[in-house]
């Protein structure tokens, strides 16, 4: 045979076939969204959200994140009782009479969970994704205080009591005695103190360090007393200081490097834990198996003895698994909700979460952009039928939102301009901005039609795509052309956070926080262009936020946040769209699930399994 026909020739062909057909194609995968960790909220996440972390103040407990999927018909929580929440008063002492030692009685069985993205690390102070925090919440659980599932007030948790000094600057926590690590060692204030010291070391990569900056000192006075001092009165401080730190076992971790997985096996295979479960085995991208921790400090071992999380990359596959009973839960996308409610083996639990995800249209307020003009922004807002959009895009699984805080927040102000659909008013606003409406076109002073560049991401989000085309359609009716550009997630974020953005309008979402003050960052001038991407500058709003953060009187704060809502709604930096309901599908054999504004995961240790009688 001829030399010219050497094997390279075939190799080239085979390479061309195998590589050509496989490697070039990744962007076309059926569900890249499932692989993007950041946007995936723990709840059903109809659309990815920019914000993933649990509401400030809550340690990423299983409660906050377990809602890998969704929930109950028996009890739809229509309204949180958040409005009843009270701020901590100065010079008070709060003592818990809650008894935490009586053991649970309905023990046994295995819960089969499914997730579309795997955890990154079990180290509780390095990660930012929800998958990781749900794993971490299994093994390291509990802050000094926790949110009450009904009142949404902070109540004693690992601390049995706390007191606040007269000046409001010193907080003293007394820990419960008898709390144990899984190896039988006591959990003490020393563990808290050591953990705090590590977390706040700037070399230690804690991504939320700025949230702890208000703390001046954090000291263990003895094994069961912690004293925390702050610089100046800061109202969210109680929740922040007691919720962000969950202790790590000092006696185990002390000898190990804090953040080197090569030398610290505890980072990804914790041997001594405080949470309801111990890790048995974790195979990355495949599964994780947990078993009950008999020494769990809160009423002992959880009812369900084993907890298995299986990783599948695709939401549809995960849903199929729930449907076939292979798993006890699974993600339900909004379009599957109707079907899921009819499944014979599944109960869908539904609730309006206190930390709701809300969607909005961001309007670029920088000079030089058409949306710099207040009347243009209002005009664009009036031109959209937001009720219809909510109904069509979210199929009844969302409610209208008119300003910064959803109805579930205790500072919610119903009395703000809402820009209800009114095309005439829209055109009127544009006229005030110097535009003229002729032959179905909105013309500026130079007689050119107004064209807007609308960006959204990730391009795999059906919800956002639907919002984008709806906006385009409504705006076209008042003669405004929108050019839609869908972007891959990172590209979208980069466009959003660019110092000199080239977009006029984008579609975004925030996860509301239970503590209203946290949302200050997205309206502060200093956070342009990262968090404040629309470049909203209003010194009055900043002043109101500062005041509300420094005076902890309940009514005073509420009034300030209500003023803020009104001003921001009037300034219209966003077109506020809607906030989402949450839901979770659970196999009917799982009992004891009670949805509240915190979701369903808050009492996960009390869930139990009731096998259906075999026919």
């Amino acid at each position: 045979m001829k030399r010219g026909k050497n094997p390279l020739y075939w190799l080239m062909i085979i390479v061309a076939f195998t590589l050509g057909t496989t490697q070039c194609a990744p962007p076309a995968t059926p569900s890249p969204e499932a692989q993007i960790t950041p946007p995936a909220t723990a709840t059903t996440a109809p659309s990815p959200t920019e914000i993933v972390a649990p509401a400030t103040g809550e340690v990423p407990t299983v409660a906050a994140t377990l809602e890998v999927s969704q929930q109950v018909i028996t009890q739809v929580v229509e309204e949180s009782e958040a409005a009843k929440a009270r701020e901590p008063k100065k010079g008070i002492t709060v003592v818990s009479d809650e008894e935490v030692t009586s053991p649970r009685t309905k023990r046994g069985g295995e819960y089969k969970d499914v997730a579309t993205s795997d955890a990154v690390s079990l180290h509780p102070y390095l990660t930012t994704d929800t998958a990781s925090s749900s794993y971490q919440g299994m093994v390291y659980t509990g802050g000094l205080l926790r949110l009450d599932e009904n009142t949404l007030q902070y109540i004693p948790n690992m601390a049995e009591s706390y007191s606040i000094s007269e000046d409001g600057l010193t907080f003293t926590f007394r820990l419960r005695k008898g709390m144990l690590w899984s190896d039988g060692q006591p959990i003490t204030a020393r563990d808290f103190e050591w953990t705090y010291q590590q977390v706040t070391n700037p070399a230690n990569e804690f991504p939320y360090l700025s949230q702890l900056e208000f703390i001046k000192s954090y000291k263990a006075l003895d094994d069961y007393t912690l004293e925390i001092k702050i610089e100046k009165v800061y109202c969210p401080s109680l929740g922040q200081m007691s919720g962000l730190i969950t202790p790590l076992p000092k006696h185990v971790w002390e000898k190990l490097p804090w953040n080197d997985p090569e030398k610290n096996p505890e980072m990804n295979k914790p041997s001594v834990v405080s949470g309801p479960y111990k890790l048995v085995e974790w195979k990355r991208d495949q599964y994780a198996i947990f078993e009950a921790n008999e020494n769990y400090w809160y009423h002992g071992a959880p009812n369900i003895s084993r907890y298995v999380i299986e990783i599948v990359p695709d939401q549809d596959v995960a849903y199929q698994k729930m449907k076939t009973g292979e798993t006890d839960t699974g993600p339900i996308t909004p379009d599957k909700l109707k079907e899921a409610r009819q499944l014979p083996n599944i109960t869908v639990y539904e609730w309006w979460p206190a930390a709701a995800l809300w969607s909005y249209v961001g309007l670029n307020m920088r000079p030089g952009f058409p949306t710099h003009d207040l009347h243009v922004r209002r005009g664009l807002a009036y031109a959209i039928d937001k009720d219809l959009l909510t109904e069509q895009v979210m199929q009844g699984q969302a409610k209208r939102l008119c300003s910064v805080y959803p109805e579930t927040s205790w500072v919610y102000n119903p009395d703000v301009p809402c820009y209800d659909y009114n095309p005439e008013k829209a055109i009127e606003e544009f006229k005030q901005a110097g535009y003229s409406f002729q032959d179905g076109k909105m013309l500026d002073q130079n007689g050119k039609q107004l064209r807007l560049k609308l960006v959204f991401g990730p391009n795999t989000s059906k919800t956002r795509e639907l919002i984008a085309v709806t906006l385009q359609d409504y705006w076209r009716r008042i003669g405004v052309e929108a050019n839609i550009q869908a972007m891959e997630w990172s590209t979208f974020l980069e466009a959003l956070h660019s110092k000199e953005p080239d977009w006029d309008v984008y579609i975004g979402a925030w996860q509301a926080t239970i503590e209203p003050h946290i949302m200050y960052t997205i309206w502060a001038e200093e956070n342009i262009p990262e968090l404040n991407s629309v470049a909203y500058i209003n010194k009055e709003v900043e002043k109101l936020f500062e005041e509300a953060g420094a005076n902890c009187d309940f009514e005073f704060r509420k009034q300030k946040y209500q003023q803020i809502q009104k001003i921001i709604a009037e300034d219209a930096p966003y077109i506020f769209l809607f906030y989402n309901k949450s839901w979770s599908g659970q196999n009917k054999r799982i009992k004891g699930i009670i949805p509240t504004a915190l979701g369903i995961g808050w009492n996960m240790e009390d869930w139990y399994i009731e096998e259906a009688p075999t026919p």
Partner: protein, 350 residues
């Protein structure tokens, strides 16, 4: 000749290394040009400020110029202390703790992952090699087992019905993306008929051989499709080529039965390149399984690559890039060398 071969191997080896280096340069530049970065995901949360972002950026050394980052990736950062002012080019982690200084790919240190919070890249990759290997090997076996006979059959029946059927089928199947076929089969066979599992490598807590084979069956068959199509085409082409040779006509003329002509003279010559190329082809199979791993929840390198690309985890991307270019180039090299053993007419000259 042996000596010539040794020199040839050395020369080709050096060429290959040079190729890999050029590939890394291109790869690194492309990855860096992609919008976003490993910390991009961090900066969209009202609980994190620009200060948090900048602090982490300096710790990880992401604030350095791209060229510096490339040099550090290549040669490590521990030696930078020897340069005057060189510590300014070290990452914050390296300055804080000498143990966290990278040693560079030249000293076989693939670096640490951003996304997986400091895990060694090489560990992450090695952890996933067996899965990719199993899938790649099985699909290779299937594509050869199906591709060669169908190629031979088509060639022997050239221009007749079986040939047309095989050709039309291959063209048709080839026009449809295999991952789509995979997804469709998964939904039908796994979702509705429930005769195959919905992805994964094993049932959690089972992991016996029959269970693993059960999980392997569909992914292996689907990812073998493109392989058997090309193998079958090449086999057909090669057979036809040999069938026209003079020695085949001679063999027929001297009255040898047709099946002996095919077996002894045609097949032996036509199949030669496959036998020699198999090991190389296998390596190439390894580097081409990203989509199947995604569709079938297969925990291999391909899924790692997708995670790394989506999260802009440069060290992991580069690690996979180096390993797959290395595998690919080694595959080609191996084919060349093995070929000389099988076909004595091939001589390697400098």
């Amino acid at each position: 000749m042996r000596q010539g071969l040794a020199r040839y191997i050395i020369r080709r080896g050096l060429q290959s290394l040079f190729l890999v280096w050029i590939a890394t340069l291109i790869g690194f530049t492309i990855y860096q040009l992609a919008p976003g970065g490993p910390l991009q995901f961090l900066d969209d949360d009202p609980k994190r400020t620009a200060a948090d972002f900048n602090r982490l950026s300096a710790l990880y050394g992401l604030d350095r110029p791209i060229l510096v980052q490339y040099l550090v990736w290549l040669t490590g950062e521990d030696w930078l202390v020897l340069l005057p002012g060189g510590t300014a080019w070290q990452s914050g982690q390296c300055r804080n703790n000498a143990e966290r200084c990278g040693r560079g790919i030249l000293r076989f240190d693939f670096g640490r992952s951003f996304y997986f919070k400091g895990s060694n890249v090489i560990d992450l990759i090695v952890e996933r090699i067996p899965a990719t290997f199993i899938l790649g090997f099985s699909s290779l076996v299937i594509s050869v087992a199906v591709g060669i006979p169908s190629g031979i059959y088509a060639a022997l029946n050239r221009g007749r019905l079986p040939d047309h059927i095989i050709r039309v089928t291959t063209v048709l199947v080839n026009t449809v993306p295999e991952w789509w076929i995979g997804l469709l089969l998964l939904i039908i066979l796994g979702g509705y008929l429930r005769i195959v599992p919905l992805g994964g490598m094993e049932t959690i807590g089972d992991g016996s051989l029959p269970d693993r084979l059960h999980h392997l069956a569909l992914p292996a068959v689907v990812s073998a499709i493109s392989g058997w199509i090309s193998i079958s085409r090449i086999m057909r082409f090669e057979m036809l080529e040999v069938l026209n040779q003079d020695y085949v006509r001679t063999a027929r003329a001297k009255g040898l039965p047709e099946h002996l002509v095919i077996l002894r003279h045609v097949l032996r010559n036509a199949i030669l390149p496959f036998v020699t190329g198999l090991s190389g082809i296998f390596l190439l199979f390894l580097s081409g399984s990203i989509l199947f791993e995604l569709v079938f929840s297969w925990p291999g390198m391909g899924r790692l690559a997708v995670i790394a690309i989506n999260s802009r985890d440069y060290p992991v991307m580069m690690g996979l890039f180096v390993i797959s270019s290395f595998l690919g180039i080694m595959g080609v090299l191996m084919v060349d060398i093995l070929y000389s053993f099988v076909d004595p007419r091939v001589k390697y000259e400098l």
